[in-house]
Symmetry: D3
Subunit: 170 residues, 6 copies
């Protein structure tokens, strides 16, 4: 049985992530989506929110599990008895960073391989950062994220905006 | 009549920006330079200062207008009845980011095109960030920005430095 | 009136080319598609064939003209009283070559600008070389070229193949 | 059972190829190394020679099969009931070409995925072209290819050289 | 006598830096390692700590001097009567940034050249950022930094972690 | 005494090459420009012609020697008691190829370093290929090559053209 781990911040999950996960789940016996619980990065969504959005987006995939990453990725992969790390590649800049990480991880554990996968051409230009920016400026992200993620984005980013405005007025 | 929008932070405007704007103004009937009024990015110059520096740098171009960008770029372009977004390309890293933005914007509005333009070879390596860094370290930026921008850079960055020193001493 | 020139080998024209031409034709008053009549490159299709395929693909665009390029591009652009060269950008490798050409052309004539345009995401990975390779190996190129180009590809590449086989047998 | 196909020219196979194949063979149930039998590319080694060198280099891997590719890769993968194409990524230029191929292949068959793998850092800079060039100039390729490939390289490239010299003298 | 300057943050120095410095020291008569004393970047190690780690790592190189950079690099190089800036190149993203800096520096002083050097393939993927991240997550950085740097990394990053935990509990 | 080797085809030498050689000659005690005598590449200029053009372009540089490369570069460098290979870097695509070559050469001889140098921004987009293409199409290459190289380009490329025309007519 081949287990693959797909790590990320998922702040929030978008159609590009979902596409990569579904493709990996067709190839590997099990795909564990691990969400980095990294406070240092000050994410827009709390860890619990991000996890819920990921779970809902993939609830129809029986061989996909959603989990939490607290420590070193390569250590996590070993503990979960996985042999593969899956990463999406969208652009050259992705590639260089991912290449560096893959080399580092191999140095830390020679038995775990990183496999790269290209998302569908419809999703190569989507990023969580852009999705948040467009939402906060009132743009429509219908074709970039599932509807339940869009709803949460609007709730979160407009709430934040209103709070800020109120503070300023006060 | 073809109207083009050239968006940016212009913190501050430099010779590379000016070169791209002048080239675009020779081709399109009107070029609107829109300055992003984005508080989140904590620019070095206030919005009013950035606008004044842009205006003064282009006061001899009758078909260039300087304006403010508050919301979503693609929405602004539509409202201004423009059909073209102009962007300068200096390097591969520019290209990837710009490519992603152009794809996103096209998805948001299929009728607006992004055109890329290469600045003169004398300006390909200039960036607002480097211009500020060199000024604050006492270097000469004569060949990177117009003289009135240089004067403002010195005023702003030395004022900031002196304030900091005073606060520390105090 | 702004006239743009879109140069290429078009051996043969594919949906990526057509997408760029149609987008340019919405912005500029006239787009001249110039086909390089370069014997040195030993194209798969004769010049007459390539011209016919381009013309048929764009017969519904009234402001698109198809013409021949015999000499230096920048000289041709000047003679045709065009002020813009249009080029499609699909990838970083495109970008570097195109950047070099744009700089060279500007040095040869400062008054002519090169504008870059990104084709639709559906077409970023199409190239004439791949279309020919897939056809010659019996693959289906329906989603990469118009039907009349596909027909010509099959005719040309199977004819060549059969001839080669016959020669060998003979 | 997951079957992966690793296609290439292997003219000749080098340590970078072997590293990627061994890594893939640890993850997938079966890896089919398919050698393109493409006369157009005028390889240095005949198809039979290339196949023998690949087979000998991997004779200790029970789940690696060596086969021939005559037609369209994606068609071959389908016929062999494989669901994965494996490709090595060494550099940005690799990435762009491979990205294009992966997108094309997905358009031709949505059910087959391309997975990219990074060879060991010791092998990222090896290419068949360089190995041939160094051998033909008398350099030592001990750390780039297995010994039996080195022997064949010397035999082939010196034979060719001597023949050429003789012809010239004659 | 040719003097070269190798500038950096060295937060902390790693094997990739050391490799580049040793290679440069074999070619140039003197190599001055200048550590940027830049408070703005909020480094993990204090300036004194970074300097000590660099000095200890290179104490066996008689023609390597360790010094402090307070102002503009190009001004420092001139004052030290050096004619060469040495920089390591690991990846395309490095290259673009370094290219821009080299062009800028040449514009500021035409008599000083930037030379780029590739670190050993064992070190191309090491970065100070990754080394800190791995340490703070409990990973082993034995093959990325000298032992005395590793000790300091553990001391510093675990101290910080414990402090943070205590503060939180408190 | 530090000796550097600058290898290339120089078919023909252009201002970008000359700029890199002059910069290297200011830093190293001696720069040997080695011209690859590679028949396989079917150069436009004969070896003797290329050598003469290089020599004339650098006759005012006392510490530059022009020589011939027949075998493996790294072997040549060792025989000439040089410790440095100098290469110009103009673009990302250059970088990747050069990176690969530098790694290969280091593997073949650990004691020889490759140093990369950026040509002046006026020359980053010049290539021998483009210079030949522009000349053969009647364009002016005054700002890309010295006058004596331009004269030889015209003589060679028009002679070739006329011959071809004559042959065809005949």
């Amino acid at each position: 049985m081949t287990i693959a781990v797909y790590p990320g911040s998922f702040d929030p999950i978008h159609n590009g992530h979902i596409d990569v996960i579904r493709r990996a789940a067709r190839i590997f016996d099990k795909v564990i989506v691990t969400i980095a619980n990294n406070e240092a990065k000050s994410p827009c969504f709390t860890f619990a929110e991000r996890k819920e959005l990921v779970e809902k987006s993939l609830e129809d995939c029986p061989n996909v599990e959603v989990d939490t990453l607290n420590g070193l990725l390569i250590e996590y992969v070993r503990k979960r008895e996985a042999s593969v790390i899956v990463r999406g590649l969208r652009a050259v800049s992705d590639f260089e960073y991912e290449f560096q990480m893959a080399m580092m991880n191999r140095r830390l554990n020679e038995n775990i391989e990183t496999f790269f996968l290209v998302p569908s051409e419809d999703h190569t230009f989507i990023s969580s950062r852009l999705v948040k920016e467009i939402t906060s400026l009132g743009g429509n992200v219908d074709s970039f994220v599932p509807l339940h993620v869009k709803a949460k984005l609007i709730e979160k980013l407009l709430k934040v905006k209103n709070k800020t405005s109120n503070t300023k007025k006060g």
